[in-house]
């Protein structure tokens, strides 16, 4: 890896990301145009997602990355791009853009799995913790976002085994939907975490779906549970059944938010620690947008420390979708000799660990 400079492009979902990454580890530039950030004020809806917006943002994103990086095309060794999983139309915007760059600048092209990118985000240098070393293998990873929730183990470089994942809703999706049911603003993750902080009683208990004997998760039952506790809380608060406008009092919402978050964090952390012990993990890695949740980070950090296993979580802006993580994975693929042709195609359903 040493000596490689990779220009990386990510466009699999809502974020358009371009980054320049040296040695698979050092970020020279990482720029993300986020449609979620652009459209959050409209109340949780993304009016123009994916393909069309990627087209609009990808060139300005590249230009900004170049102005940040302080290098030139002659320094670049390869172009890496997310080729799956994701929406075909969105992936193709990034893929075709990367192909054009590789062709024009006569550079090798590397196709990267988005989920592998989330994993290798933990291998990127952390500006706030420059002394941190690369995670040791085997690494047990919990990747949690709006679209994905899974456990995997990496025993050797670039060899990942998917251990289990959600059978219904992703953890981030559960945060968003239950946030909506509680009347909290979008995005639901930060809103629930904020509300939960002001809870004092800590008595509300949401059900846990343990799915014993598997590394799988299930979070869809939490919606039904939330519907029930919200209805009960409204009755207790004396709000008429026909009245759908009056919001629940803030302190009540706080307790419900805490109870929900506690259930999600409990299941995620417990199953992650169990899997880490079982596979003999030398490191536990957390990634994906939900890694920004402080309750989850604190719980996993505490339990990992008790076991004496180092715990690594990237900076928040490297946990959400970005180009740098694709550069981290792409540099490893490039160094391993992988090359994609100009016929590189989108793989909307590409699972982690599949060739």
């Amino acid at each position: 890896m040493s000596g490689s400079l990779v220009l990386a492009v990510e466009s699999s979902c809502d974020e358009t990301g371009v980054a320049l990454v040296a040695d698979g580890r050092r970020i020279l530039a990482s720029v993300v145009a986020s449609q979620v950030a652009l459209h959050a004020p409209t109340g949780g809806i993304v009016p123009e997602v994916a393909a069309r917006a990627h087209l609009r943002w990808i060139v300005p994103t590249l230009a900004e990355a170049w102005s940040d990086a302080g290098v030139s095309w002659s320094d670049v060794d390869a172009v890496a791009v997310t080729s799956g999983p994701g929406l075909a139309g969105s992936l193709l915007v990034g893929i075709n853009f990367a192909k054009a760059l590789a062709y024009v600048h006569e550079l090798p092209l590397v196709g990267v799995n988005h989920l592998e990118g989330h994993l290798y985000a933990a291998w990127l240098e952390d500006a706030t913790d420059p002394a941190r070393e690369e995670p040791e293998l085997p690494a047990l990873a919990l990747i949690v976002s709006g679209g994905h929730t899974f456990l995997s183990v990496t025993r050797r470089g670039l060899r990942h085994e998917h251990l289990g994942g959600t059978v219904d809703d992703a953890a981030g999706e559960a945060f968003d939907k239950v946030g909506r049911l509680l009347g909290l603003p979008y995005p639901g993750g930060p809103a629930i975490a904020r509300a939960a902080e002001s809870a004092v009683r800590h008595e509300v208990r949401f059900p846990r779906a343990w799915l014993p004997g598997t590394d799988d998760f299930s979070f869809s039952g939490l919606k039904t549970a939330a519907l029930r506790v919200v209805a009960e809380a409204r009755t207790v608060a004396g709000i008429d059944l026909a009245d759908r406008e009056t919001p629940l009092p803030g302190p009540v919402v706080a307790e419900l938010a805490w109870g929900f978050q506690d259930a999600v964090v409990d299941v995620l952390a417990t199953k992650t620690i169990r899997a880490a012990e079982r596979v003999g993990a030398a490191t536990i890695v957390l990634g994906g947008g939900v890694a920004a949740n402080t309750a989850l980070r604190a719980r996993l950090a505490g339990e990992a420390e008790a076991l004496g296993i180092p715990f690594v979580v990237p900076a928040p802006d490297l946990c959400t979708d970005n180009g740098a993580m694709i550069g981290a994975a792409g540099a490893r693929r490039f160094t391993a000799g992988e090359r994609a042709g100009l016929d590189l195609d989108a793989r909307p359903t590409w699972p982690l660990g599949a060739p």
Binding site: P85, G89, S90, D176
Partner: protein
């Protein structure tokens, strides 16, 4: 299998399910008559059981990978007896967004398409389809109304009971 010229009426059917496994079983029954080009439009509130029905539908199509909620990824594709396109418009506010996201794709004519939060497609919703509306009765019970908008999709009503 049923002939394609199924008579038009009666084109409505109500099925009650008493837990999520019954909702999945209904999905699996529906899948037995699925053909390329079919569209199932699912309607119902958060937590009603749309994804449960989709999971059963996938199972009935012989899909072996996990059919999870595509709310954030917008569309999931699965290989089954016929290709299965599972779309979720939860995060979108209208047909323009769905078209812009590339969710309505020519390839879908080669498979069966199931759309959660389908009403958000408005006029872009294919005219020939099976509407599946899930109402929450209580914690576990659901009232599921099936409505075929054309004679062809009427074949689903025959296997739903």
């Amino acid at each position: 299998m049923y002939p394609r010229d199924v008579p038009a009426a009666p084109d409505d059917l109500v099925v009650e399910t008493h837990d999520s496994s019954e909702t999945r079983a209904l999905g699996a029954r529906l899948a037995t008559v699925a053909r390329p080009g079919d569209v199932l439009a699912l309607h119902g509130d958060l937590g009603a059981g749309k994804t449960e029905l989709a999971k059963g539908f996938g199972r009935g199509l012989g899909v072996t990978d996990t059919v999870a909620s595509p709310s954030f990824i917008l569309m999931a594709e699965h290989a089954g007896r016929v290709p299965f396109f599972h779309i979720d418009l939860y995060r979108l506010d209208g047909a323009d967004a769905a078209v812009g996201a590339g969710l309505l794709d020519e390839r879908e004519s080669e498979g069966v398409t199931l759309i959660e939060w389908a009403e958000r497609l408005g006029d872009e919703l294919p005219a020939a389809r099976l509407d599946v509306t899930i109402d929450v009765v209580d914690d576990t019970d659901r009232r599921i109304r099936l409505h075929a908008t054309d004679a062809d999709h009427g074949r689903y009503l025959r296997v739903a009971r």
